[in-house]
Symmetry: C2
Subunit: 259 residues, 2 copies
Amino acid sequence: MTSKPRTRAGRGEGGRLAEEILLAAEQLLVEAGTEDAVTLRAVAERVGVTTPSVYLHFADKSALLAAVCLKGWAELGATMAAAAEGVADPFEVLRRYGASYVRFGLDHPVQYRLLLMTRASAAVPAGGQPGVTATDVTAAEVVAATAALDQITQVTQLCIDAGLFRGEAQALALSMWAAVHGCVSLLLSMPRFPWPPIEEYVDRTLRMIGFGAGLISRVDAPAGTFGSEVMAAEFDATAARLAARRSAGAVDPPPADPG
Amino acid sequence: MTSKPRTRAGRGEGGRLAEEILLAAEQLLVEAGTEDAVTLRAVAERVGVTTPSVYLHFADKSALLAAVCLKGWAELGATMAAAAEGVADPFEVLRRYGASYVRFGLDHPVQYRLLLMTRASAAVPAGGQPGVTATDVTAAEVVAATAALDQITQVTQLCIDAGLFRGEAQALALSMWAAVHGCVSLLLSMPRFPWPPIEEYVDRTLRMIGFGAGLISRVDAPAGTFGSEVMAAEFDATAARLAARRSAGAVDPPPADPG
DNA sequence: AACATCAAGTTGACGGTGTCAATCTGAGCT
DNA sequence: AGCTCAGATTGACACCGTCAACTTGATGTT
């Protein structure tokens, strides 16, 4: 079964196997598209090593899976940043962050589900350094997950500074996170549901939560009430004026196709 | 191990065990808080029967788990309806639907996760009758999941009829679903994250997505653009007028504490 | 009341899983 | 050349979901 003879690792170089194991696990994960295809035996065989050897480098199976997820999530921050590069308008940055967040989730469905759609990954992000030894991943795991949130929070703060939002950046960001995460989660959980075109769905959700953030952060309605009839007329007037000023060219030109 | 002697079931009455199995599985699920505590052996022992007997009533383990989830989700529709009973304002109904949806998810964490936070439960809700034989649950599973969505969609349509929203009800409802589901999913996935008070978090998210729905459904900005500076002033003016009219008592009185 | 029927339930086993204690082995230092 | 101990293996354990073959007993019929 084992193909390569595999020269044994030297004294200090034991960590080499760790990387190979990580890679093999990741391959199995994306190939099969489900985490229960990632068997310690399958991983070990692919690397060309016996099963219990995995335990020399990972505390247990869940630690291995966590490490795999972590590896994928490292890209997200950079991806989001790249999607918003050169964009000055913080509101537009927010939209692009959201869009690339969703795209990332759909591109890495298994990792996303493992990290953010399972029970009780540890949390309290205080002081968690990414100095991950591939064993105490549980702490670093949450750091990776909240890194995206931090990025969103920062841009939200910029929106506040620009006078577009009001209130606490973190609070607004958490709700926007819920919206984008909800999109990803639903799309992943119900792939056969008759969704509208994904891009439209995501964009509509982003505009709703974004506009909502702008408006709600200025309305000091008591928590727990919506108001109703008044709003209809008010929204109409606002929408009309926004459209008018928009067509007058007072804002950023529409960006190129967000591919 | 088996406590009761268990009189054998009669000819046509084989379905009696099915219910007991279902109940035992549900108990194990909520007691342990995780689905992998629900072992066919554990379930069988709790009922007082041997393991393979389960297969006489459920196709396999996943069918059993699906049936358990289904049982829990049956309540949701009624819960949502009850939460909005006697409320005339469709916008307020929407808020209460959302709040009770989230509350339901947090109250049934395991069932919620199993049904809406795992991979690829079947879909295409067309014509799926809830005439569930406890075996072909996969179809009825999705019916239960989308029942809540349908309820939201209907009230969204009422909001459209009332002139509060514009556009396609289903599309708006899907985005609002993403927001509330996102709240539930995040709260369940990261219980140790330093969340703000849950009620505030949920209410804020609901107001954001609700206001956003009202506003965005009237702004025909090209998809993929947000606009920016203009909005700030516009939002200020809108918020001020909304607050003024609100304090003039033009809308529904604030509801009692939504407990 | 005796009997045959066949759904309801059991027995025993298979292959697969994560995990671990005990053991071997060989690369690198002395 | 030989020691050392990190690196890797052996063999086993307990548990899992699942199934084919078997037993049992409540029921409808005679």
